[in-house]
Amino acid sequence: MIPSLDLIPGVLAGRQRDVARLITRAEAGDDECRPAMTALYQHTGKAHIIGITGVPGSGKSTLVKALATAARQMGRRIGIVAIDPSSPFSGGAIMGDRIRMNDLSGDPGVFIRSMATRGSLGGLCRAALDAVDVLDAAGYDLIIIETVGVGQDEVEVVRASHTTLVVSAPGLGDDIQAIKAGILEIADIHVVSKCDKPDAQRTIGDLKTMLMLDMPRDPNWMPPVVGTSAESGKGIDELLKTIQTHHNYLHQSGRIQDRLRMIAESRILKTAEELVRRRFVRHQAGHFIAQVAQRQLSPYQAAQQLLGE
């Protein structure tokens, strides 16, 4: 086994094998790779990170492919982390986002990685953002995280991006699905995909009406609504421009600092949570569980002891 620290030169040089290997170890949260991830962190912070969410079938993967293709033409290097749910029964997953992105696969300027939510083990946010760090350090300067907009974990992942896109689509039922899923509020930009379909204008109209009723998160940034069709290519360039406008806004207004602090805060907490969970699983579980079950310790006391307080 190659030590993770020895993978760093390859990662910094953008060698895909090394990038891929370190992502695997980072995702698993191996202790062995922690010093390497710490060293690599100094080389991150250059990429613009975009989170894309929306209900299954809303067209996210297809949109990611269209955006990546357009951004490639502008010379950007694209990293993609596509997250799919794990089976709650077996813990395994079938990840199919690449099906929509196959045309990108021969391009050395694009790196696509699929990641499973890993069910109850948690740590998705931690794992996904560690993967983003590896891609960032490897020189991918536009990084897209795709995740299904259901479940707390997944929403947290997209919130931890610089620009969050929420995708809605016509033909998936009467309501704006994002409202039902409670993810409308997290959008910096709304995308209505599949605008080649006849009822798309209605979806855009409904969405705009809903947004007028809402107070935006940031009074100086009204989340715009962009219609796209991955089929005809309509709206893709406009969306890319809008993403750039949001990026410029964050930097010119200084709001980027708030974002970065929020992301840092969330990452520290997530990582700490995972460390505690691991410590619990590895060492003390049996001991504490028995004592709490037999009422010799309260859950609070056991937790305190676990943390060494």
């Binding site: 094998r17 290997r21 698993a28 089976s87 077996s90 813990g91 395994g92 079938i94 196959n102 021969g106």
Partner: protein, 135 residues
């Protein structure tokens, strides 16, 4: 904490049936593995590029179109070229016995006919990955 076995399932060649590969994908998922499915009509190059980015332990290629004697060697060669020969290649589909023997000699780790029981596939993948060891 050990991560699940990662498998890339690909359908190479011209035939348009993906029921078989989808069944295999589900079998492996139900055995707790992470399966990346890349869809129909992939080229050998697509498969190898994707397998490297996904850092999979195993590539499972399904082929019904009879082009196995070109695609499997190409995949094995590309993996060697790209310094990724530690990725295990298995296959499934319709492959005559004589070809199967040749392919195994070339380095295809295992081949499954269409009615292979799920347990056989799962056990083979697990055994192969274990035998290769940590990398």
């Amino acid at each position: 904490m050990s991560s699940p076995i990662r498998v890339l399932i690909a359908k190479v060649g011209l035939d348009g049936h993906d029921r078989g590969v989808k069944v295999v994908a589900r079998i492996l998922r139900d055995a707790g593995m992470d399966v990346i499915y890349t869809g129909l009509h992939r080229s050998s190059e697509d498969v190898v590029n994707a397998a490297i980015q996904e850092d999979v332990d195993v590539i499972g290629v399904s082929m019904l179109s009879g082009a196995h004697m070109t695609h499997f060697p190409r995949i094995l060669n590309l993996l060697k070229e790209k310094d990724a020969a530690d990725i295990i290649v298995i296959g499934g589909g319709v492959i005559p016995d004589a070809d199967a023997a040749t392919l195994k000699n070339m380095g295809v780790a295992d081949l499954f006919l269409q009615d292979t029981p799920p347990d056989t596939i799962v056990n083979s993948v697990r055994t192969l990955v274990e035998a290769r060891g940590k990398r």
